[in-house]
């Protein structure tokens, strides 16, 4: 957990990451709020808030009396949302720093190509 962002958002992102990487496949059960709280050493209410963010966006759904499950199609949904944010969150700072260092766009493109190949 880092200090710069609300913890419940970081919990939500962590669960999303696990869905993206396949650790939590669609239709699988996600750990309980209390398990997340114990694992990350955070207040259970905060962990619950993180899980609820994902319920609200339809990434997780609740089976009454059993627990939280990964909704079908959630992986696609996460990818779509994250792609939209990719430019602002990753490309823009990259270009900004490149400009500070007088790296030309051509050089930058070159670096990205190289990185992609390796």
């Amino acid at each position: 957990m880092d200090d710069s962002r609300p913890i419940f958002i970081q919990i939500a992102e962590q669960i999303e990451n696990d869905i993206l990487s396949g650790v939590l496949p669609e239709e699988s059960q996600v750990p309980s709020t209390n398990e997340y709280a114990a694992f990350y050493r955070i207040n259970p209410a905060t962990a619950g808030k993180g899980v609820n963010v994902l319920v609200d966006t339809g990434i997780l759904y609740k089976k009454r009396g059993i627990g939280m499950f990964v909704a079908p199609g959630s992986r696609e949904k996460i990818i779509t949302v994250r792609r939209e944010r990719f430019q602002a969150e990753y490309v823009r700072p990259l270009v900004l720093e490149a400009r500070n260092l007088s790296i030309s766009t051509a050089e930058l493109t070159d670096m990205i190509t190289k990185e992609g190949d390796s």
């Binding site: 962002r5 609300p6 913890i7 209390n34 114990a38 905060t46």
Partner: protein, 296 residues
Amino acid sequence: MTAAIDVSGVTRRFGSLRAVDDVSFTVQEGTICGLLGRNGAGKTTLMQLLTGQDFATAGSIAVFGKSPIENASVLQNVCFIKESQKYPEDFKVKHVMKSAPWFFRNWDAEFARQLIDEFRLPLNRRIKKLSRGQLSSVGVIVGLASRAPLTFFDEPYLGLDAVARQLFYDRLLEDYAKHPRTVVLSTHLIDEVSNLLEHVLVIDNGRIIVDDSAENLRGSATAIVGTRTAVDAFVENRSVLHRDTIGGISSATIGTMTAEDRKAAAEAGLELSTVSLQQLIIRKTGTTERENEFSA
């Protein structure tokens, strides 16, 4: 949600000193609340008032809806772990564990045994002969195993080593999840507990200066660093909590920033970083005259 604690206009005066000065707040049932503040800020006095061990000069206190003073129906639901708990002469650790269930009806002897094992507490040793850390772990174990609906921990871990503190946090979270209850935790080790807390109260000079959810407080201050001129320009017309300058570089701690503020700061070449709860409280309670001038 209902309030476990409801305090309204409470003052406790010792002669000319107002240890608690016209304080009002509520603590919701089922939350872990941090009561933070500097030495002598009034934390312990406040907890003594809340547990009926001291009398307010003015104001009203309700614990589970009733006054705690000489009120068995309230006090049997309250456990107060004091920083310097006194035990009868010749008491051994096992005597404490044996007498605890007389006072706490939710006492879990099995859980207590597990904790004694984990904290490596010698049952047959006299309380007087325990080290400072071991004495603290006696309090921690009683506080956890009592499962009182309202538990106060006043600086529970003086002298506890890092392993034992971590154990305390882990067992507290685990047991709180299984048996939800209200916990008020007073501590100086703010960074260690900040993620455990749901609500934060900061007391300074007898007054409550912060009463907010931990989540809100996390985003409530930002440190900006950059050239002196850029920082000066950016903080103009903003309230500044703290200011440091070294050579041409300056840093300032300011309040909440909007997305637009962030964009403006980034364009002005300023670096932003979040202020931890501990730093925020140091900024709020550690103000000196010099800094007051800056932030005025």
